[in-house]
Every structure is written in structure tokens, then in C-alpha cells.
Assembly symmetry: C2
Homo-oligomer: 172 residues x 2
């Protein structure tokens, strides 16, 4: 059975939506996706470092459309692991596990990995929105999940996917 | 640079000492190491499942003798990761990271992995006290850290080590 390593932030969890909400709260104007596309999160959201260290930030994230249904199907056919670079934000660890348990109850604790660097992860397929995670991945297939911060970059040797239905069409 | 995956409980952190203390508190008599050797933790400590779900259990563990000094030296010569099967006990996640930061401040967040199953871990060397972690490890060298629960088992294809000085003599 092939192993898939699935990222959380920007893949299962919609961090950009929350950045936009909190940025609007702090600056009075909501930016559009077009305005933040092609910019790093630090460029697009001046207080982003404050946001990701704020308790409740991760716990309240919205679930990406169709991810529940598609991940449930993947979970029946693949050896699925959820791999989140979370140790940079220790306060997020318990929140992230609670969030997974609430929204993806079919994912067991055995299938969860919270790490810093993903270079220690051994899998066949990786789904992630960050080049720094995909670029040293040694499995056979790496899918770049489209997000504003990576929108104008060349996907390189990775395959860009735009939503979970597209992931389903590739992997199911 | 070779990568080492180092376990926490029973390798860096002395869980047995705390089991003995709490078991004595609950039963009035302190068991000896000899009495608990060769028995599973469930056999040796009736309330062990309660203990490991108790907040403060992991935060207060003692550091294994010589582990600070040896791990610091390993950290200079190897690509060290601390890999702990912690997602079974979500309340332990923040405690474990705090504990590492206090006792092993040279270990960065990039070097920490909290997981359930360790089969996703890619490394050259693994140091662990549990056969379930070592047995499916695919690196070239697996060290079984001697603990009462594994004391009377055949180390099999792994090499049994009794303390951190012995690890130093093998790896440094």
C-alpha cells in the first residue's frame, strides 16, 4: 500500500482565509486573493507571525472544500499520514490534534506526525503547499497544493493541484 | 551526515522511575527494578494508563544519566532528530516540547518529531526501547535501549545498549 504524507496548513486547513479575516480586523480593509497572490505570507500579512503564535488560530481554521470526502476515500486505499510542521508553534500542537479529531475523525493518532523539518518523512506521495517541504522529498510523486504564496512560482518538478477534487482525479 | 532518530520515553526520559514513584504513592510499597523487569508496563504498574494521561506526568520526568552530554556530542556529528510517539497522549505534546527545550536546549524545533507510528521515519540509526518501533526500522543500525519492560527479551537483530556512555562508545 502506498504511503501519502498530507500537509495540514494550506492543504487541509484554510490558513489564508483566516489571515485575510484577521488582517481585515487589524487594518480595516479586506485584501483580495488577487492582491495577496504571488507574495509571501510575511509580505501579504504584516502581522502573520503574531497570528500563528496566537492561541485559537489553528483550532478555528476552516476545512478546505471537499477535503473530508476525498481524504476519507484516500484513507481506504492508501497508507495516509497527516504531516504538519507544527513544532515551530508549540501552542498549536494540541489545537491541531483536536482539529483533526473533530474534522477528520477517521484519522487515528497513529497517522499523525507533528514535526519541524519534513526531510525525515518517508512516503511515496507528498501533498504540500511549500516548496521547502516538497523539494527534498524523495518519494515518486509530489503535489504542490496551489495557494496564494506559491501562486506565481514555477511548480518545477512538482505537479500543481488546485483543489481536492483534482487530487481525487489523480489519486483515486 | 548520518541521521539518528532518538526516542524520548525510556531513552532520554526516565519513565520507569516515575512509574515506580507513582505506583508507590498509590500502593504504599515501592517495587524494585528486579520485580518489574521482564514484565510489560501494564503488568508491572496497574495504573500505568492513568499515569500517562495525567497532565504533568511527562513534564516532570528525570533526564537519563549522561544523555545530555552524549546527545550534545552526537548533535555535532550527526543529523539528530528526537522522535517521540506522543500523539497517543495529546496532552503530552506541549509538555514534551517544553521538557526538551529545558533539558536539551541545543535541540531545535526543526529536530523534533511527535508521531504515532514510527514507520514513516527515515533515518540511518534508531535508538529506542520498544521493539515495535525498531522492528520495522529500515536504517542500517538499531539500538535497543535496555529498560525493564524489554529486559528479558532477545534483542534480535538489534544491539542492546545499557546506558548513554555505551551509546557514546559506539557512535562517537
Amino acid at each position: 500500500m502506498q504511503r501519502i504524507a498530507v500537509d495540514m496548513d494550506g492543504v487541509l486547513a484554510d490558513v489564508v482565509e483566516r489571515f485575510l479575516e484577521w488582517d481585515e480586523r487589524d487594518h480595516g480593509v479586506r485584501q483580495t486573493i488577487e492582491q495577496v497572490s504571488g507574495r509571501t505570507e510575511q509580505e501579504a500579512f504584516p502581522f502573520v507571525r503574531k497570528y500563528v503564535y496566537t492561541p485559537t488560530f489553528f483550532r478555528g481554521l476552516k476545512v478546505m472544500p471537499d477535503s473530508k470526502e476525498v481524504l476519507a476515500e484516500l484513507n481506504a486505499r492508501y497508507d495516509v499520514f497527516i504531516v504538519s510542521a507544527a513544532t515551530e508553534f508549540p501552542q498549536s500542537l494540541a489545537e491541531k490534534q483536536e482539529w483533526l479529531t473533530e474534522h477528520f475523525p477517521f484519522i487515528t493518532w497513529q497517522q499523525i506526525v507533528f514535526c519541524g523539518s519534513k526531510k525525515i518523512i518517508q512516503a511515496d506521495i507528498m501533498i504540500d503547499d511549500l516548496f521547502k517541504n516538497l523539494d527534498h522529498f524523495q518519494g515518486h510523486s509530489s503535489l504542490l497544493f496551489d495557494q496564494p504564496h506559491n501562486a506565481r512560482a514555477d511548480a518545477g518538478r512538482h505537479r500543481r493541484v488546485y483543489n481536492w477534487k483534482e487530487i481525487a482525479s489523480i489519486l483515486l
